[in-house]
């Protein structure tokens, strides 16, 4: 054996080999199968030559997991974890350990996708239904969605929804209580200006002075005061306007529900229910409303339906409201939401139960009251009479108080007028109360807290004290021992198919490996326990991380500036379109408002364009699925000086590198338009080409696709945008924390300045472990895997589109329409049958109805791709048997799929095929079976009889 070199022994590109599925010899074998000699030859052949990027970027060399973690730890340790009393919508909370380990740190929960295949997603669907029930109970409303991106965007959605539902009220003015959180006010203003609404910000009590279509109040408000929202809601209703209330779930355990007082929309953040602050996110926002407004509600709603055996089954309801179906008519552009975090929040509620939550809330309130008592005894005058957890007051020397606080490891908040504020939270102790009192008063406070406690008066007005019950459902009252909690989590997890079971080849969604080493830093306290508005000198670690990521992303994409604020791809689209509009406006071309969108675009594109008040003009695709350049030319000409932009996905949503892309960009630029590139497929560009070089002016990057952030069962995500320099002055700003190089009045799109900052370490780890060589290789192997899979399936199913050389990009479309026409077997039958084979179906009917779009990603090994291809081919043979009449056209393994354990144990098996074929069609499945928990679900039934709350426990057991 020859002696290996030291560097070989060091094996610094170890991670590349682990991230990429096929090993070197398998890659060679697969290359040979598709008649190529090397990865370079393959990618050179597939990509149009005029866009290939041949420079080697010196962004980073590969690092081992241990080295990258060590480097990141050094960065993280530059963050200082202070005790946070800043409040403003973000509070310290204790993540119950059983949830931390079994949900947040568990790939069974974090690697799942949005539950579009409900038969194999009953676990997280049940969790989300519980979440809706929790929100409904605490807010006192009739229905709730399963999460939005953050409180501020939820408020903006409330405004948009108010305008949709308010009848016979022609006002274009929305009222915002001036004591709402500043980031909420800013995000609402940004959204309003795009819609052309006027926002008036004034004291809540003045609401009736305006002619408005809706109003937003904060309960309790920014000053800490618990306003009488009953009166405010009544005043708003007297104007024939919609009343929205932003609130706090913990406070609602002590405060009467806004629904009781007639609120129309209730929203807020679920962060303090056991989700770390994470320097701004990710967290779930909640949103609840009246039943009568169900069609107007944005976001996903989980509903109860039945399966083909009549058993209760859950699935996403009322999808006819959403962007993937309604496009520019959709209620909102929301796609990736915050499922993982919504689930953590509801598990926190299940873990503590109604009594436990009330106890925490009362404790928080009691400590606040004790502190208030000590302060007022010593002459401090509080700004408000009522409060839940927040006190605001003036002191003589604010700077002294702040510096004493910092010296003792506490963060308070101070507003521009010098008013001090603090919010107590779940982690506050009596010791903290004493420390805070001493810090504020400037001397060592001695107080007999037991005596004080005995004499405290209520800080919440009697008429606003909670009287209605909440969380009475048994799910919230039966998992209070850790053993029960652990098993409940495990029970739900076992019903869901995630990446830790098998490949999820969802085209466009990019379900690549979410490596453990990438996930580990997420739960480091140096990242998790930082308030988004913490003083800048405490977040030097985050700053370094952000700057480094910014530098790397700019190099990878070729853009001049990056905004790390958007919390999803769709929000990136919205932020990018706003930048384009502002740019046009700055040049006196504010009339440019036509947005060209090819037929094949993702539903979020037209939905985002609508939110930016653009007029959508759809352009055609040719027979190859490419943008029809002549049609584009015509439409660009017709738009003329009203052309704002084109939104285009590259490689196309059809999985092809269109060779005309440069020409397409040129046409748009010639007519004075901008090019928005949807970066959902950036994973097919990294290292091989760059959006900015191709001609894009702005593009989002779904870090939860290309850069390894897990999908969490439907969120979190991050959708930063890259822009060329001319758009840089128009990126999102933030009202509390100024964003570098961005004018302060641009407006925010998210509540936090850097979106969901605490998941950025995942992408940082991904980039640093792979290094540039590994990033590039990942892209190339993604192409290899897709082309290998396409070739394996080709003789059995038509592959819809390919480039001029017969090759696909990183994903391919399998056409199932001919089979359906011939045999009546539908794409849904095939998708459900794949479950029997242990697979999640590929993306269905996008971008072409009646097809599958398959994207294996670089992370899937050859063996798994073969297993998937074998399953598809076996299913194809089953269909063939139906065609030939060997299997019955109604009673066959496809139309009856998926098969559950209930099917198989049926005493009297009457079907025309065997039990073995039904449930154990291959030997791999025999060795490792995933059982769908329910039979095929009836969507139509559930939507006719909409139920979005938890059924009784007995119903679950039936």
């Amino acid at each position: 054996m020859s002696k290996p070199s030291l560097s070989e022994l060091l094996n610094s590109d170890e991670f590349t080999q682990r991230h990429i599925g096929p090993n070197e010899s398998e890659q060679a074998e697969m290359l040979e199968h598709i008649h190529f000699k090397s990865l370079d030859e393959l990618s050179n052949e597939i990509l149009p030559s005029d866009i290939q990027f041949s420079n080697d970027l010196e962004i980073t060399a590969p690092n081992t997991e241990a080295d990258a973690l060590k480097e990141l730890k050094a960065i993280a340790s530059k963050n200082k974890v202070f005790k946070s009393y800043i409040g403003m919508g973000y509070h310290e909370t204790t993540v119950p350990n059983v949830i931390l380990r079994n949900v947040l740190e568990n790939p069974g929960w974090y690697t799942a996708y949005t539950p579009y295949q409900p038969e194999i997603a009953q676990g997280r669907l049940e969790a989300l239904l519980n979440y809706q029930q929790m929100v409904i109970d605490l807010t006192g409303m009739e229905m709730a969605n399963a999460s939005l991106l953050d409180e501020a965007t939820a408020a903006a959605e409330a405004m948009a929804m108010a305008k949709r539902v308010v009848k016979k009220n022609k006002s274009e003015v929305f009222f915002v209580d001036s004591s709402c959180l500043p980031q909420t006010i800013d995000v609402v203003k940004t959204r309003a200006s795009a819609f052309g609404f006027e926002v008036v910000v004034d004291k809540a009590e003045n609401v009736a002075d305006y002619d408005i279509f809706g109003a937003l109040f904060q309960y309790p408000n920014m000053d800490g005061s618990v306003l009488n929202i009953k009166e405010l809601i009544e005043k708003t209703h007297s104007l024939n306007a919609i009343a929205a209330v932003a609130t706090d779930l913990l406070a609602l355990t002590l405060l009467e529900a806004p629904g009781t007082f007639g609120a129309d929309i209730v929203l807020g953040s679920a962060q303090r229910f056991g989700v770390p602050m994470g320097y701004g996110g990710p967290h779930a926002a909640f949103f609840a409303t009246r039943d009568q407004f169900k069609r107007a509600i944005p976001g996903r709603i989980i509903g109860v339906s039945i399966d083909s055996r009549g058993k209760q089954a859950l699935r996403m309801a009322l999808q006819t409201r959403e962007q993937h179906i309604r496009r520019e008519k959709a209620n909102s552009n929301i796609c990736t939401a915050q499922v993982l975090l919504a689930n953590m929040a509801v598990f926190y509620a299940i873990y503590h139960g109604p009594k436990g939550l009330s106890r925490i809330a009362q404790r928080v309130n009691r400590y606040t009251s004790l502190l208030a008592e000590v302060l007022t005894t010593h002459g401090v005058k509080l700004s408000t009479e009522s409060y839940f957890d927040t006190l605001t007051f003036q002191v003589e020397n604010t700077a002294n108080v702040i510096s004493r606080a910092e010296a003792n490891g506490y963060n308070l908040r101070v507003d521009s007028s010098g008013t001090l504020g603090l919010s107590c939270h779940e982690k506050t102790s009596l010791h903290d109360v004493k420390n805070l009192a001493s810090i504020i008063l400037g001397f060592e406070v001695e107080a007999d807290f037991t005596a004080l406690d005995a004499n405290l008066t209520a800080s919440i007005p009697e008429e606003l004290t909670r009287k209605t019950e909440f969380l009475t459902h048994s799910v919230f009252n039966s998992h209070h021992s850790e053993t029960e909690m652990l098993r409940y989590l495990r029970k739900l997890e076992s019903r869901d198919l995630a990446l830790n079971h098998s490949m999820i080849s969802l085209g466009s969604c990019t379900m690549k490996l979410n490596a453990t080493a990438e996930m580990i830093p997420v739960t480091w306290p140096e990242f998790g326990e930082i308030h988004p508005f913490a003083p800048q000198e405490q977040v030097l670690g985050y700053k370094e991380l952000l700057v480094d990521l910014d530098t790397k992303l700019r190099a990878i994409t070729g853009f001049d500036a990056i905004s790390l604020q958007p919390n999803s791809g769709a929000q990136g689209e919205y932020a990018g379109l706003l930048a384009i509009s502002k740019y046009h406006e700055s040049r006196g071309e504010g009339h440019r408002n036509i947005c060209l969108i090819p037929q094949s675009a993702h539903g979020t594109n037209p939905a985002s364009a609508q939110m930016a008040s653009m007029k959508v003009v759809v352009t055609k695709c040719d027979d190859q699925g490419n943008v029809d350049i002549n049609d584009l030319k015509t439409k660009a000409e017709q738009a003329g000086e009203n052309l704002s932009c084109l939104m285009i996905t590259y490689p196309s949503t059809h999985g092809v590198y269109e060779s005309g892309i440069k020409q397409i960009c040129n046409i748009v630029h010639e007519h004075g338009g901008q090019v928005y590139m949807d970066g959902a497929n950036l994973n097919a560009q990294v290292g091989l080409t760059r959006p900015a070089d191709i001609g894009a002016d702005v593009s989002h990057m779904n870090l939860h696709k290309t850069f390894a952030i897990p999908h969490g069962g439907g969120g979190p995500g991050m959708g930063p945008i890259g822009v060329k320099s001319h758009l840089a002055p128009f990126l999102s700003s933030h009202p509390v924390i100024p964003v570098d190089n961005v004018p302060n009045d641009n407006g925010a799109v998210s509540a936090a300045p850097y979106g969901s900052a605490s998941i950025l370490p995942i992408s940082w780890m991904y980039i640093h472990m792979l290094g540039y060589s590994g990033l590039k290789k990942s892209t190339q192997v993604a192409l290899l895997n897709a082309n290998y899979l396409a070739l394996r399936l080709k003789g059995h199913f038509p592959i819809l589109y390919s480039g001029p050389k017969g090759l696909v990009a990183h994903e391919c479309i399998i056409d199932l329409r001919p089979l359906k026409a011939e045999t009546g077997i539908t794409e849904v039958d095939i998708a459900k049958r794949l479950m029997d084979y242990g697979f999640h179906a590929p993306t269905m009917s996008f971008p072409v109805a009646g097809t599958f779009m398959v994207e294996p990603t670089e992370s899937e090994p050859k063996s798994e791709i073969d297993r998937f291809a074998d399953a598809m081919i076996a299913i194809r043979q089953e269909i063939e048997a139906i065609r030939k009449g060997e299997l019955d056209s109604k009673d066959n393994p496809l139309t009856n799929a998926p098969h559950t354990m209930t099917d198989i144990i049926e005493g009297d098996w009457k079907r025309s095929y065997s039990r073995e074929l039904a449930a154990f069609p291959t030997k791999e499945v025999k060795a490792f079976k995933f059982w769908p928990f329910v039979n095929r679900i009836d969507d139509v039934y559930g939507d006719r009889n909409l139920i979005c709350t938890c059924p009784t426990m007995e119903a679950y057991e039936e």
Partner: protein
């Protein structure tokens, strides 16, 4: 002569000769075929037909159509209550809902029940992006009296099911 207008919704497993059978049943019992719109939706044959017949023949026509169920053709019959229509306003409606058998009939009956006259009805059913459930979309131009409160159309249609969404297109 006093004549009645009936709206038929025809549903059947797709098979040759459906239109022929239905029209024979109408004509042979004294009815007159006015207008129709047929298509195959989700593997089923669906059609709406408006026919006219003398008031005293209504029972005959209904019986004759009911007999078709022996051949697997179901026909729902609605009597149009609208009077001779005064010149009115044209309303464009856009409907999105889950597809389900009989949806066209439900929609057309709902419109008829508030006296909205359907001038054109264009429907489509396709597999929805992502979930692949079948989605029904309809573009309807309907005529209503000038003083008609348009929100009534939305209300009556949205009562059909929770997933059905109506847009009034300007």
């Amino acid at each position: 002569m006093n004549s009645a207008q009936l709206i038929l919704t025809v549903m059947a497993e797709d098979q040759p000769g459906i239109v022929d059978k239905v029209s024979k049943a109408v004509v042979s019992s004294g009815g007159n075929w006015l207008e129709s719109n047929m298509s195959r939706l989700a593997g089923k044959f669906t059609g709406i037909v408006s026919i006219e017949c003398p008031q005293e023949k209504v029972t005959d026509v209904k019986q004759s159509l009911a007999l078709l169920s022996n051949t697997g053709i179901r026909v729902l019959i609605d009597e149009s209550t609208s009077q001779a229509i005064e010149p009115g306003q044209l309303i464009n409606l856009y409907i999105t809902s889950n597809d389900r058998p009989g949806i066209v009939s439900e929609v057309s009956s709902a419109l008829a029940s508030v006296g909205a006259n359907v001038l054109s009805l264009h429907t489509e059913c396709s597999s929805a992006a992502m979930s692949a459930g079948f989605i029904f979309e309809a573009k309807i131009t309907s005529e209503v009296p000038l003083d008609f409160d348009v929100s009534i159309l939305t209300d009556v249609l949205e009562k059909l099911s929770d997933d059905l969404i109506v847009d009034i297109v300007e």
